[in-house]
Symmetry: none
Subunit: 210 residues, 4 copies
DNA sequence: GATGAATGAGATTTCATTCAT
DNA sequence: CATGAATGAAATCTCATTCAT
């Protein structure tokens, strides 16, 4: 695996001080990006916040863009992992139990760092080879969801499972993000309930629920 | 409503040449922002693209930020107007007809300039007084939707109309935006159908649909 | 008298509206220069303050420099005129009466617009052909003073009348300017007295004064 | 003494390279200001003249204004130091010896860089918190002078020592500045003599001089 | 390696001046 | 003549990136 010059981290340091600095830089960047916006995210400020120097920053990232991409990838990885773990654990559960649990999980995952999430979303569209954060996270979520629905194909109403997965993932995702911005819905059980209803009623053949 | 100095356009150009320049600048900015991203949107390039000079640009906008805000407002106005017109015309229609029509309208409205929309969305969160584009457009959409649902309160299932409106608006909005980015769903009648289904099944008491 | 292009007013308008605008521009410039400093004195602001348009301003002054020079000249003219009138009226008076009266007059003349005076002083040194305001006003004052002292050559102590004039004029001038900036000495009779003393004791052979 | 943000140098450079750059910038600014005037003193030219880059300049000075203020302060410090050294060395000397020496010193100190001095004088009046160079240097000189005169209170004529100090300092200061601009008086012993006479005759009870 | 001073291209913004209306 | 929109050169300032220490 040869590092393509320019877009990827110079190296992915695995151990000790190197790893610590690498992460510190990424953390600092995440913090500034989410709390103060992209305009404020200068390499010098990142270094200071990370407790290092610009020079060291450039030891790990060949340029600013690569840093943003690394940030996106780390964030995406976190979210994907969380989502896949939940879904895996619910693979055998029936729809009526699995759906609210997944919805809940996705809502929770957005409370972590919604601002960072939002900022990363756009930023990378014109930076990192056109692939946005949503693309990465949601594409993966669609795959996982689709697998789950395929396994239940005859329990569910929609004929086109792929399209249904796409719709549901993006719906829940968007609502999670919005909820994160609206205090009255953040961590509101009734809201989670409604979201689960929305999904279940779309999926089930005979929605005599609630 | 007092104009905060520094954030609003310098003057409201009323006649001929002025108005033309003002609009040309906004158009140029929109164009560059959506096709080339924020990093490329420099005041000089905007002026050149608009067929004017930087000086003229600064005659109408005290700084770059105010320009971005004006862009957001103009775009929001357009979308809101479109949405409200549709809903108004459907105020008397029954759910089963109104919902698909509205969904269709929202999807259509996003095909106009999805990149501009996406870029504006983030940009303004750390710039213009913290109000994002979504906030403006969707808040208005929620109000309109809620009014419509209130009028049909006993036809619909959800008890909390406010929350239902919030959920539906953001769902359709998000799906519209995503569809704009996915060729296979953009202008796809089956997709529109599914979205309408999603909404209708959530709203209706006895979904004897399909 | 052909106008040299570039440094002199386009024309010295003698009558009616022209003269009024010309003066309004100069007044506005003086006002801004003395209250807000040179950096703030832009041609546009001058025009607005004067109640005209930049276009009209450029009808009377070929460029900004010529405006500053006109300002200096008008101010110098005013001061010189005041000074010469006083001295002329005291030509026959004895030293002990004339000196305090002149000192008083010079002090008074500086209370008119000390900030404008101070600002003009430097400004023009690199602008208007190197001649500063001081040069103009004080050079003239030296001439007048010298004439007065020559007429009393045998009443006074200093042998070199030219040098004495130079010293006295600049001394009184400087003290006037300083007094304008120090509330405790502005319009303070004891201060005027001391200044008169300073001059008289320098001039008189047998200073049995006070 | 809290550093007001925006008006003070960014950092106090202590070692080697930093200090050298810092000084080089100030020297370059002084040079341009005195020889070519404020209009020519652009940050880029300063940097070039200093043999650095604009970037470095802005590493030490947050903006142009702070640079001008630093310039004023350094210049004022130099003059004050020179003046106080002279006066201290003459503290015990009798009036008739001290006064000419001091006058001579002040005249000399103005020959160093009269243009810089003159330009700084005005410039800072509207820039650096309203305190002009004169204010700083002369205020200090008045204090020192007053202390000297207080010690000789019964040798001297004027009752109000404070006012006398004010008058004398400003007189000599102004004459020094003027002399710097008039070749025929610059470094002219007769001129120095006259200035000393002026001061002595004002101070002494029985001026049986010359 | 780590550091942070130095670099300079380039971004934002101002303002004297012109000229179509 | 008056107006003020338009112009664009030039000024101030920022920040990604390099490199001597």
């Amino acid at each position: 695996m040869v590092a393509q010059p320019g877009k990827t981290p110079r190296r992915a340091p695995r151990q000790g001080r190197s790893k610590a600095t690498f992460d510190a830089v990424l953390d600092a960047a995440a913090q500034i990006l989410s709390h103060e916006g992209y305009e404020q995210m200068t390499t010098n400020r990142i270094a200071v916040r990370a407790g290092t120097s610009v020079g060291s920053l450039y030891q790990y990232f060949p340029n600013k863009e690569s840093l943003v991409i690394a940030l996106r990838d780390r964030h995406a990885e976190k979210m994907i992992e969380a989502f896949e773990t939940i879904v895996a654990s619910l693979m055998e559960a029936p729809l009526a139990n699995a759906v609210p649990a997944i919805a809940q999980a996705m809502l929770a995952s957005h409370n972590i760092d919604p601002e960072l999430h939002a900022n990363l979303n756009i930023l990378v569209s014109h930076l990192g080879g056109g692939r946005r954060l949503v693309d990465k996270v949601e594409a993966r979520a669609v795959v996982v969801t689709r697998a789950y629905l395929e396994a239940r194909r005859d329990e569910i109403r929609p004929a086109n499972v792929e399209r249904a997965s796409f719709i549901l993932v993006h719906t829940v995702y968007a609502l999670a993000q919005q909820a994160a911005h609206h205090p009255q819905y953040r961590s509101n059980p009734a809201f989670v309930n409604d979201v689960a209803d929305l999904v279940l009623r779309f999926l089930t053949k005979d929605p005599a629920v609630t």
